[in-house]
Amino acid sequence: MIAYAMNLATLIAINAILAITLNFIMGYAGIFSLAHALFFGVGAYTAAWIAMHVSADFFLTVSGAALLASLLSLALALPALRVREVYFVAASLGLQVLGSTVFAEWKSVTGGIGGVIGIPPAELFGIPLSDPHAFLALALACLTFVIAVTYGLVRSSFGRSLTAIRDSESAAAAYGKNVALIKTLAVVVSSALCAVAGALYAFYLSFINVESFVLDTSILLMAMVIIGGTGTVLGPIIGTVLLLLLPAGLSYLSFLPHTEIGSIQQMIYGLAMVVLMIFRPGGLVGGRSLGERK
């Protein structure tokens, strides 16, 4: 039971990092990405590769993962600067589908469908972290770090610039905001921090495969952010907890056939998205509707 709760807590911490970093671009910069799982994957595969071929040092692997993810995120920033709304959603979707295919097919690095197995435990200052308690602590520390960084940025001049661009891009530019640079930085920061979750995930499971980094994951993350509340600090965390507890909660309802739990979970959050958009578009925490700009 304790082990079960700890497992859930670790997964919540990892997913909360993903939801928070997605909210950073979605809620504050108005960049509605369906490719977040892609950067999660890049982080995980990079960390796994470094851990298996170079060193399992946590700081080294995380830095490598963040670096590669932020470089690749320029592929997302490019369309975000050119077009908006429908076009950007479509571009990010395309990127996600393309990325999943690469993950599945680039067998020498990602192991294809079979995935990467035998990732060694992370090492902190040379000490391997194989104890689940210690790993949970590490995950929570990372979560705290990510919250601190994103919260700090949102409250700073950078956050004001982001919100200004979201509210009126033309006015922001007319007042000297370098819109392209600011949006690119937002995407890069978001993807780099997202890769931290990828590294944690790879070390935690010691096995990763493409199924964790497909479009469905991006959609789940989007649902977490939207249901919790976009553009709020607490929203994505609450959304993560709710959506991860949902399958656990459903499995206690013994009348539900076990094979259908995944389906029922998706139906519930799909329905929640519809109902919230009609009655409370700001999500559970937020009041304001998302992406106000028409």
Binding site: T163, D167, S170, A173, A174, R288
Partner: protein
Amino acid sequence: MSAAVPVLLDIRGVSRRFGGLLAINEVTMALEAGVITTLVGPNGAGKTTLFNLITGYLAPDAGEVLWKGRSLRGMPHWAIARLGIARTFQDLRLFTHMSVEDNVLTVMERSSWLWQPGGRRAERAKSARAAAILEMTGLSDKARVRAIDLAYAERKFLSLARVMATDAELWLLDEPASGLDLPSYERFLELLRSKAREGITVCIIEHNFDIVQRISDRIVFLDQGRLIADGEPKAVLADPHLANLYFGEHAA
């Protein structure tokens, strides 16, 4: 105009076409330092388009715009703004979901990177200046209110407060007084005059005859994209042809 006044912004033979429509047709004019120039003309005369061309929001098809003698050709929108040209919009375009104070603060923050230079001292100076600007525009009690929740006149003053916060030398104001009630209107004129006395150069698009008369040092008349008159208010306003063309319907 005497040659002694330095020219801040020089518009030379600028044209811009939208499809078949020549929105701005070889307009040449200069904005001189410390002078309040009013742009008048019927709707669709190209006044706002001219602002868009000056600020780099649109690129001219022909001609060029010079800022203190230097061509602005090819410069991005935001970089032109940083030279010291600020504008308001007819539809305001406030940062609707930010507080009044944040609307002003963000305009002061020049760095687009993740942090601002100057540390805490700069931070304090910035807040103090924002407070002073809100005081001047009568928005002090509304500092924490979101822009979207302001009354109409307050929004107009916020759009002016944003311009003040930029430290720009040239203000381009697009119908800043339309829809203001009488007290706000007087307050607005007073604010504008005091700013002009401090040496700010203002170019203002205005339909209100009263304002045009009371505030202009100089009037530029646009019609169908062409500049058809440019001179001292008395001379321009006295021209019966122009009065007929435009002020006839507004003078009452």
